[in-house]
Symmetry: C2
């Protein structure tokens, strides 16, 4: 099957498999099974086997999956067998948190730049980053070849920033602002939305 035909819902599960496998690797584990992965993730073993089989043969019946090998293969499929430079727009609470975030290492990403439009913030430092003027956003990221951005500006500015990012060559946007953004079909967009996660849990609360 061509990779182009793989349903997006399957692609959405691969990062979850990868994260679980990397945690197992940190526990010095070598072999796992679709059953164990499924129990950790709340997904059926059959679903996991079916998802992975779309990309090839990664394990043998009865012997399970080799963890380092499967990690490498999923990293290749997801194109995170490299490190992508990511730009952060918005140097408020969330943007500053992202610039300092320790969770990108070994996941395929590193924050490369942070922008804001506030003259009081431009030129100031967050960790090792100097906050840059978002007036020059499109031009600066185009020169740097940035393809991925995280938006952490107020909702009222999010669409304008997204347009600037796309003009600058960005192809994938992770939006922290609590508002829906319109993008052309060739642009990927995802949302960080804590309410989605909270609502998934309140189902189980009385």
């Amino acid at each position: 099957m061509s990779e182009n035909k793989i349903p997006d819902i399957v692609i959405g599960r691969l990062p979850l498999y990868l994260r679980s496998l990397q945690r197992m690797q940190q526990e010095n584990r070598i072999i796992t099974s679709s059953q164990e992965l499924g129990e950790r993730l709340g997904i059926s073993a059959a679903q996991i086997r079916k998802d992975l089989s779309l990309f090839g043969e990664f394990g043998k019946q009865g012997t399970g999956y080799n963890i380092p090998y499967l990690i490498e293969k999923i990293q290749q499929i997801l194109h995170v067998d490299r490190v992508w430079d990511v730009v952060v727009v918005g140097a408020g609470d969330i943007g500053s948190g992202l610039a300092r975030y320790q969770g990108f290492s070994n996941r395929g990403f590193r924050v490369a730049m942070i922008f804001d439009r506030d003259p009081l913030k431009i030129g100031a430092k967050i960790g090792n980053f100097i906050i840059q003027d978002s007036h020059n956003l499109s031009e600066t990221i185009r020169k740097a070849g940035i393809k991925i951005a995280m938006i952490a500006v107020p909702s009222s500015e999010a669409q304008t920033v997204a347009n600037q990012l796309i003009k600058g060559g960005v192809r994938a946007i992770l939006n922290y602002a609590p508002i829906s953004i319109s993008v052309p079909p060739h642009i990927q967009i995802q949302y960080i939305d804590p309410s989605i996660h909270l609502q998934r849990m309140t189902y189980y609360l009385e």
Copy 2:
């Protein structure tokens, strides 16, 4: 079918349906279809009909779903037909952002308190909140009847904070720290992990 038997993966999709329906409502829409919802979400119409049918009859063949009615029903199923008080632990960048976050209104949540252990932060204000001493975390949240918490402390402190929260009666935790937390089986846990969202998008990038 008893609601207890509904797969967690289905529960995980309901908040996505709810968010799309609420956006349609903001657009003053009244009727939608599983086809339209599916196109907005990248999920098949058949999957959406199957998921919703587990909870009852919400639409009729050929006439589609009534948006306000379906919103109300999904809110009831997810127990967000009320407003839950949520506690934030950690008054750094991310915690401050959560305390000021505008995206919880109309989703079933409101931030009620924020805690930190840093003497320099305790007593200071973030928006309308006074930062409280996390030394008293378990006791304070138990008295207030808090069931939901968001962890925004450094990774090295996240497990300790989770233990305090659970001791104080919390049943659902949303963890922003980039580390896996162990909780008893009756405790719900979810992770905010930007790498998961970024990896889902890099699949589509060359």
